[in-house]
Symmetry: C2
Subunit: 730 residues, 2 copies
Amino acid sequence: MSRRRTEGANLQPYTRSKRRTTPSELRYSPATVQALYLAPPAAGVLALIFAFWKTAWINRQDAGTAEMREIAQLIREGAMAFLAREYKVLAVFVLAVAGLLAVVNSQSKLGQTPLVALAFVVGATASALSGYLGMRVATAANVRTTAAARSGLAAALAVAFSGGSVMGMTVVGLALLGLGSLFIVFSQYLFPGASHLMTAINALTGFSMGASSIALFARVGGGIYTKAADVGADLVGKIESGLPEDDPRNPAVIADNVGDNVGDVAGMGADLFESYVGAIVGAMVLGAGAASIESGQYGPVLLPLVVSAAGIVCSILGTFVVRTKEGGNPQVALDTGSFGAAAVMAVATFALSKQLWPAGGTELGGKLVTWSDVGLATVIGLGTGVAVGIITSYYCSLGKGPVNSVAEQSKTGHATNIIAGLGVGMRSTALPIVCIAGGVLGSAHVAGVYGVAIAALGMLSTTGIQLAVDAYGPIADNAGGIAEMSHQPPEVRGRTDRLDAVGNTTAAIGKGFAIGSAAMTALALFAAFAQQANINAIDLTRPMVMAGVFVGGMLPFLFSAMAMSAVGEAAMEMIQEVRRQFREIPGLLEGTAKPDTARCVDISTQAAIKRMVLPGAMAVVTPIACGFLLGPEALGGLLAGCTVSGVLLALFMSNAGGAWDNAKKSFEGEGYTMSDGSLHPKGSDAHKAAVVGDTVGDPFKDTAGPSLNILIKLMSVVALVIAPLIALSS
Amino acid sequence: MSRRRTEGANLQPYTRSKRRTTPSELRYSPATVQALYLAPPAAGVLALIFAFWKTAWINRQDAGTAEMREIAQLIREGAMAFLAREYKVLAVFVLAVAGLLAVVNSQSKLGQTPLVALAFVVGATASALSGYLGMRVATAANVRTTAAARSGLAAALAVAFSGGSVMGMTVVGLALLGLGSLFIVFSQYLFPGASHLMTAINALTGFSMGASSIALFARVGGGIYTKAADVGADLVGKIESGLPEDDPRNPAVIADNVGDNVGDVAGMGADLFESYVGAIVGAMVLGAGAASIESGQYGPVLLPLVVSAAGIVCSILGTFVVRTKEGGNPQVALDTGSFGAAAVMAVATFALSKQLWPAGGTELGGKLVTWSDVGLATVIGLGTGVAVGIITSYYCSLGKGPVNSVAEQSKTGHATNIIAGLGVGMRSTALPIVCIAGGVLGSAHVAGVYGVAIAALGMLSTTGIQLAVDAYGPIADNAGGIAEMSHQPPEVRGRTDRLDAVGNTTAAIGKGFAIGSAAMTALALFAAFAQQANINAIDLTRPMVMAGVFVGGMLPFLFSAMAMSAVGEAAMEMIQEVRRQFREIPGLLEGTAKPDTARCVDISTQAAIKRMVLPGAMAVVTPIACGFLLGPEALGGLLAGCTVSGVLLALFMSNAGGAWDNAKKSFEGEGYTMSDGSLHPKGSDAHKAAVVGDTVGDPFKDTAGPSLNILIKLMSVVALVIAPLIALSS
């Protein structure tokens, strides 16, 4: 069969008549092209199969004694009840927004289509589903990790890491299956042809908006839940009543363990789902602006999907590396798996770019971009991510200068500890921002704004294994809680605590990847918005733009304040309930009566769901209102201001929280020796001051900080979705 | 004499040949025009005469007992010694920068002139001189206020307010005398003619840079000094040793009182000097871009100077209103004087615009601007200032919701108090930012970017009386300290405390004016920079600009961290010294031996001077490095990012600090009644938690927060000064 005579809507990359390509560029048979389209959803299915296989393995493991199973059941029920109620509220939101999207996009002008509403619903559903599945397996893995910890550390690590890898693979699997399938349907069947490609891509942005919306609500809701329960359990249970951590007599202890799941597992899963999808969609939109599209060469649009598909394969291979090395040092195994996968991905991106990219390069955003430029942008992205990760982990690490300075300042009391922590957080923004700015300049220098998007994708393409490492932490944490509540011997708790510590470095660097990729993804989405809204320049010398930057810069402050007061108020309710139970249930403290743990679970659930609505709604409504009332340029300013101040506050809050946390830990164990040689053990005044700092840091690092990463992308993607409409109305 | 035949370099506004004006526009005789040029320096001289007259009156008042005079002498010596050492360091800096400015501007291209170095030195000297004179009189007025307080409140108010008004009039007098004289020399003698006007104005920007440089160092140095002494005196003297506030046995107590002077008097004076000059120069640069300049109509350039001259007259009249009402409620008198002056100024601006503005309007920044537009922009500026002031004072006021919420959360301990205060601070950014954005849009809508500059000037034109109200607070504070240390009867201390409370509302609204005008002045200077650097657009979709915004946004965080750790480290040194004295000087606590107060004064002085250098230098070096290495657009992004994040952090830190301060005060007196009806008196656990919050808030609201207002303007004005060079090199 001659290549040049092949026709068919599903072979667009191959058969455009207006093409300016030379025959040498057409290297692929139609079957190969078709395979390229199918690779992403196929990789998604592969990830899901892997996840199901791992889930089945976990479920076959011993779930321990009847007491352990009973406690695990309470935690699982609480977690699932929260998700069910959260999703009920979100379903109303999703349907309302979908209806609105369908109506306002009903006239087909400038590439809009009501199908964006469908993509929105699919994206939201896929995100919610991955949270649900991930949490199901996490709440099965926790008790099995405890059970395995009775025999040894290695066995416990295997169960916990398997639980994390199910979460990781479910997230990337559903994301790529959803995105890849929708892209085939939109670009090959509903809107075939290069001239309609932009319409297909516009519809696809809805998927990203759906994912981001769910992520923001899940992060905020989960963050409020977990911190309210945590503070309630600690403040009344531990400090006022003198019970140890995770004591079964503490009424808030089940809610606390549920919180680890809804905040750290489901919340983080939705978070990374959103990052991953945002980076892919941002790169696709920018790729659709390439000159080669007109000549039927879809490489710039397909590449982000195919690279992500390769990332899934690398991630799966990476999990096997972690398994094989299990006998050795687990930390080394985790690092080898995680960084090995990323390194292989960098090479794979070069190889894939060489194959998929239009030969001789293509014009993209006013710049000639070649395949090697794209590969280079990936490497720049990875370098930026590693640099930001190492720097942020330096600021939060035990024994390093910044944490020691906070511990040191605890000597003179609470106030100096707080000031030191705030100072460390503020100072810690400097180098990461310089790295991010350098990464933006570098990747844009080699491949324009598309390069920024590809750099972000480079950091996120191995999300599968990164999330596996991240998600096994809360599973180990839960396992420890179950060990304590089910009265296991102390060495079991010791093993789960050690599990928790392993992989912390990897997770800390992963946090740097999250912030770096959030900044660069937001910028890519911002550039995509400008392209789709047909804006030539967003000129800072125009007062309208500057006013937008001011208001946009303020939003992360307002959002953080809302999140923090939500935690404060919810914690208050929890505190009062725990106090009431100690007061009103006779025999509770003596262990002769059982606490009403369900009531505490219910309070956290209600408080979180009620209080997640306002900050979440603000993020969706503000860009829409600004865009339609003040126009696309003011909206551009709003996004830029929000992105910059959001990234800064996220760095500030996460790192301050991390530094306070480890400053407190500095006093545990053998105590902390100050620079003047004095030893301050656990329970000393300095340690008490450090505990206060840690409590202040909790809503910083677990509620407000991580939510900001989502906020900036959600606002950008909302702007991107409505960009064609704004372009029309202005 | 026929108007149209008059010639002369000093009559440029009248005699240009290329003019497009109609004869009806030429309403003034040469003598009138000359008078307009002379009015600003003349008003400056008037203010200085008023200040000298008031100073003489203060010096004639009774300085009290020998013991009071001795203590006052120690405070005065400490304050003057600090200034002398600070100015010695700054002299080196000023001469080095002046030399650099002279060298790089030695080739006369694009309107540069080495005279910018001269203006820089004059500006720096005038600012330093106003700090010196203001502090001299403040350290004379403090003890005389104590002496007057022995006879009654009204007499004490008269002395304290007179001291404040000397500071106010010295600042505006020296500013307008310096600026007005330089403008005459530059525009009429050295660079006569409309074609050279831009050169004259460029030279004038050096004055603003000089003022801003001194202000930043003075604010940071003063802020470090006062808080180190404060924390040292409180933590060891009050808490560890149980001495009352301002007890003469406390070694740090003199340093603490010196701190009030160097921080709150000299620091604030330099701050407002800088704001005032920045707003005037920003408006002049933008006015020089008006189309009417070519036709010899200098209205847009002269107006800012003449309006400021009128503001001096209104301020002087305002101080008399405060005097006449002295018998009544002092708060009402202060408000009437302050707001009355502002209202009269709004009317005067309309009248002056009508007279000076080119008839029929002139094109300015691509917009036809008429005299009524200019008047309207002033009103918008005043409205914005009042709105921001009322909102920020709401967030910091005793008995209002936000402060009560912080007090309420003190019930559950230190951590919840801190979280609540941080939350209030973050939330408090929202409405002021919306007001500022609205003010920018409104004033730009009526009169373009010139309107933004005029709006800022509208808020600052009555700086004379505003500063008088601000500066009398620390004088009253000092008077209280002297009363305590010289063992006056309690009713004397009571009167000085009440003095301190009077005018707080006025001062709080003045703080809003300061932040609002800082934001708008920075934007005006930013627009002036873009104009002088010949940039058409600073386009946010360009990665270079966005990278600049990121790095610029980070600088206020880094700067605040530096300022806060400087306070922390300096306080540590002070704490160790005070502890040493209590340990090593026998009989100190018993009152039989005298403390070595000079040593504490010396520690604060050295610490402040050593630690002010790095943050100050960063503010000057960064825009220069960015401009020359990365070009004018990256620098534009840097300025925008720094302005937005600086204004946000300033609002956050100032308001959080204010809320913590008043939350602590809520527990004093009769105690604070929580919403559950429980009463928490002074000394309760809730009060102790609130004290910690207040200590955290101190460096927020007195060191980092106010310095940020200067930082953003200093960076903008440095960029403005180097703009012609960057335009040349890029």
